[in-house]
Symmetry: C2
DNA sequence: CTTGATCCCGTAGTTACTACGGGATGTAAT
DNA sequence: ATTACATCCCGTAGTAACTACGGGATCAAG
């Protein structure tokens, strides 16, 4: 499936147009963020109404949903650009997507490991100085060494 | 222990002075970061040599070490400011430190939980599209929905 | 006394947005 | 037709925590 699905003249609702506000509400992406995505080239510049208001169609809606989902999965905008480039090219394979995903998964696992190490240390600290009125907390002492 | 330990005239090495580069090497904090910390008030402005070069002493070294350690534990600069304010005040108690630490620990645990949810999803995805030459990857499909 | 390392400063770039301000439209009710 | 209010426009600046850059001064060693 290419990102630009065929919306032929035979389609039942052939010209869906959404204002930026409507698009924002449907996707849950902030209005300013939509404009931001346009500025940085992640979303294409949509046609404008005579007065200059942006008019979005179903393709825009799909693309923005894609971006939103990918962000929720923790992909950076840079990674999403790569994903979109594949998809826009139209001839991507599952393997290419797999590669990006695995690489991202690796990053996520590293972050988890880092945070778990932190968690352990912080938990130890907070046990050490749980009872509260002692001045000269040992935690503070260790931070100075 | 207050942050400003007494370095009396009787101390064996009474005037340690470090250039910004030396301080940077000893603490592992980038030189530019040291200046940055000075700009934002986390490190005090040190005295200068006649030519205007910064001269640091043991107190600076201790403070910067403190900041470095705290950063490594994932505290934000804002949190570190709070910690330093307690310490600078000199009359902090273990309980106050405990509070900040527990709050931070809570944040860390939330982040871990978030990332673990991500990890699960990403692992599922990468299994689904592991074998590589199929076009129209199912993962991409789901992102469009 | 020359060479190379180090230092100075201010500014801009990074990531992914969010917020602001002031003016122009769109839409609905009267 | 007018009024009122929501929505839209744009560009700029702010957020966190730095990093990088550029061009000039100074220091330390040989």
């Amino acid at each position: 499936m290419a990102i630009h699905t065929d919306v032929t003249a035979r389609d039942s609702q052939e010209s869906v147009t959404l204002s930026i506000g409507a698009l924002s509400k449907r996707t849950g992406v902030h209005l300013e963020t939509v404009r931001y995505y346009e500025n940085i080239g992640i979303m294409p510049a949509p046609p404008r109404s005579p007065a200059g208001h942006r008019r979005y169609d179903r393709e825009h809606l799909k693309r923005l949903t894609f971006v939103k989902r990918s962000r929720e999965l923790g992909f950076t905008l840079k990674e999403i650009r790569a994903l979109l480039a594949l998809v826009d090219g139209g001839d991507y394979t599952c393997g290419e997507v797999h590669e990006l995903t695995v690489s991202h998964l690796h990053d996520v696992r590293e972050k988890i490991a880092d945070l778990q190490r932190l968690e352990t240390t912080l938990a130890e600290i907070s046990e050490q100085c749980a009872d509260g009125t002692i001045p000269d907390c040992p935690f503070i002492e260790t931070l100075f060494r």
